[in-house]
């Protein structure tokens, strides 16, 4: 019996082995190499010099230009996550209360932006949001404004583009969390005297917080790491950190500095995620997360 039990215990280990192998072989070495290289020196004439220093990090963290872009990247991504959350919650809630067939169709509809490649999708937004595009012609035709709305090649355009694709991730994560709530719980709240709104605020919403957190983190991380959409819908005027990194790699071939920026981005994004998680887990509804 003991050997049998030991073997059963090993099954999960075997199951994660392939993933672990992929991670160790294809993922860890490049990251480790990038990390090491971020401490190397660089000269435009001689290229990468294998000498250790902290200058790459120092340069980034003391220059207000770089810090400004870092800040923009973070708040832009946070706004995208918030927009997805606010728009996605009612959709997820509604989908969950729909009949089987209609629910499948709506989920497909929400996933559909992911079926189109990012370049085509961004081009679509450019056409739609352009000063002479359908949106502005409609707005001006209705005399809501006299000038085209400043959306395209602005931060708002980037936010719209990012929210458009990552919306699906938010909705799916919210659905999976809402689905796990025992349907008799809101009924119990109603029975105890709560109206629909109170039942939602006191029971359904707190119990869906894990989904809110997971969805927000997902959208935030994806937005922080996105490159094509800010580049296209920002029209080169909305510089985000990924664009800076790209510049260092491709234009200036200054890989050490690019690597340092990539690492700062990684650490900051993970830090924010950890803090957000902690804040929620320590909060009033900590029991939801256990």
């Amino acid at each position: 019996m003991p050997t049998r039990r030991r073997r059963l215990f090993l099954i999960p280990v075997f199951l994660v082995l392939p993933l672990l192998a992929i991670f160790l072989v294809f993922y860890l070495p490049p990251i480790a190499y990038t990390f090491i290289q971020s401490f190397y020196k660089f000269s435009p004439m001689k290229g990468i010099i294998k000498e250790w220093h902290l200058g790459n990090y120092g340069k980034f963290l003391t220059d207000s230009y770089y810090l400004g872009i870092l800040w923009r990247t973070i708040w832009l991504s946070a706004v995208v996550a918030l927009v997805c959350l606010v728009l996605g919650y009612p959709v997820a809630y509604y989908i969950l209360h729909m009949a089987g067939r209609a629910r499948g169709l709506l989920v497909l509809l929400i996933l559909s932006p992911l079926l189109v490649t990012v370049v085509i999708r961004s081009l679509g937004w450019i056409i739609l949001l352009a000063p002479t595009g359908p949106l502005n012609r409609a707005v001006m035709g209705l005399h809501i404004t006299s000038k085209p709305l400043p959306i395209l090649f602005q931060e708002s355009g980037v936010i719209i583009g990012l929210a458009h694709i990552y919306f699906a991730f938010m909705v799916l994560s919210l659905i999976s969390s809402l689905q796990r709530i025992d349907p008799s719980l809101p009924l119990a709240a109603r029975n105890l005297g709560a109206n629909t709104v109170q039942a939602f605020l006191r029971v359904t919403l707190p119990l869906s917080l894990p989904g809110v957190l997971a969805g927000s983190v997902l959208v935030f991380v994806l937005s922080v790491g996105s490159f094509v959409i800010p580049a296209m819908l920002g029209g080169g005027k909305v510089t985000v950190l990924t664009y800076l990194i790209y510049q260092q790699y491709i234009k200036f071939v200054n890989w050490p500095f690019g690597n340092a920026m990539a690492f700062i981005l990684l650490v900051l994004a993970s830090g924010i995620i950890l803090l957000a998680g902690r804040w929620l887990e320590r909060g009033k509804y900590s029991a939801v997360f256990q």
């Binding site: 119990a188 029975n191 005297g193 709560a194 029991a287």
Partner: protein, 357 residues
Amino acid sequence: MIHVELQSVRKTFGSVVAVNGVNLSIEKGETLALLGPSGCGKTTTLNMIAGFLDLDDGNILINGKVINNVPPNKRNVGMVFQNYALFPHLRVYDNVGFGLQMRKVPKAEITEKVKRALDMVRLPGVEERYPKQLSGGQQQRVALARALVFNPDILLLDEPLSNLDAKLREEMRLELMDLRRRLGITSIFVTHDQEEALVLSDRVAVMNAGVIEQLAIPTEIYEKPKTGFVASFIGEFNKMAGEVAEIGSGGAVKVKIAEGVVIKSNQGYGGKVGDKVQVMIRPERMRLSLQATASDNSFPVKVEKIAYLGMVIRYYITIGGVRCVVFVANRGDRLNIATGADVHVEWDNEHSLIAGL
């Protein structure tokens, strides 16, 4: 005084008829058990009284007023859910106090009432715990405290004891009886456990396929089942098909089961001689004896199998080609009857119930 009344209540889900014209009236302070097999519409009925489901047809009245369109939060009905439905993210204090918080009761009063409610269900001092940190029986008590703390007019319980193990169920059953007597609150509870229904209620409504087959006090449900379904659902019956051989005066009926096997009854029969009927006898109303005595019904039989259950002993025999079982209470003077023994099975006239086929 009639407190709760259901008039021809009907509810369908698509093509499924869950509740098909239920009529009920419950007196103030009365406890009614809704008993029936799985899927017969018990929960649906309860959910309609709680206001979670709209009726397709009919009316629900509380104190003579139709409440079909009153939302659940305005009905002042306490409910214990089948799975308790405790809020996992709230402490016991907030769970029990939820109904009071919604009613804007001052905080000090909530604390006081929550404490009293927890004392009442004999679970003091667990205010700070989360539902997950309680055992099944303790969660059940919290659910009960939560449903009672705001002084509801009516208490609804959906299989309140079904998630507990046998021992705890017995204990909670006694406590519920006690609590019910002390509070005197009108209550309706759903169960598919017949013992629970008989023990805990003033009256039992036996449901089947969306309708109430019989509504009566527990003894009547057990002694005088009105339909074949009620008879087979409550307790056990030995059922023998036969033909009415003779209808005498004063309810005397003779039914021929097989050649030479005629069962006597004094329960009356409304049909005529020659009708195909079913004779039903409770296993505990039959006796076994070594010698034939002067009983109304007495047949020589062979003991085929014995099942020793501790409290009772079940003897399997065959009467007129029909397998029957006899329950004998274990009084310690174990009958000297072994498998294969020749004995006599006997019972009195009044225990032979006759139902049409």
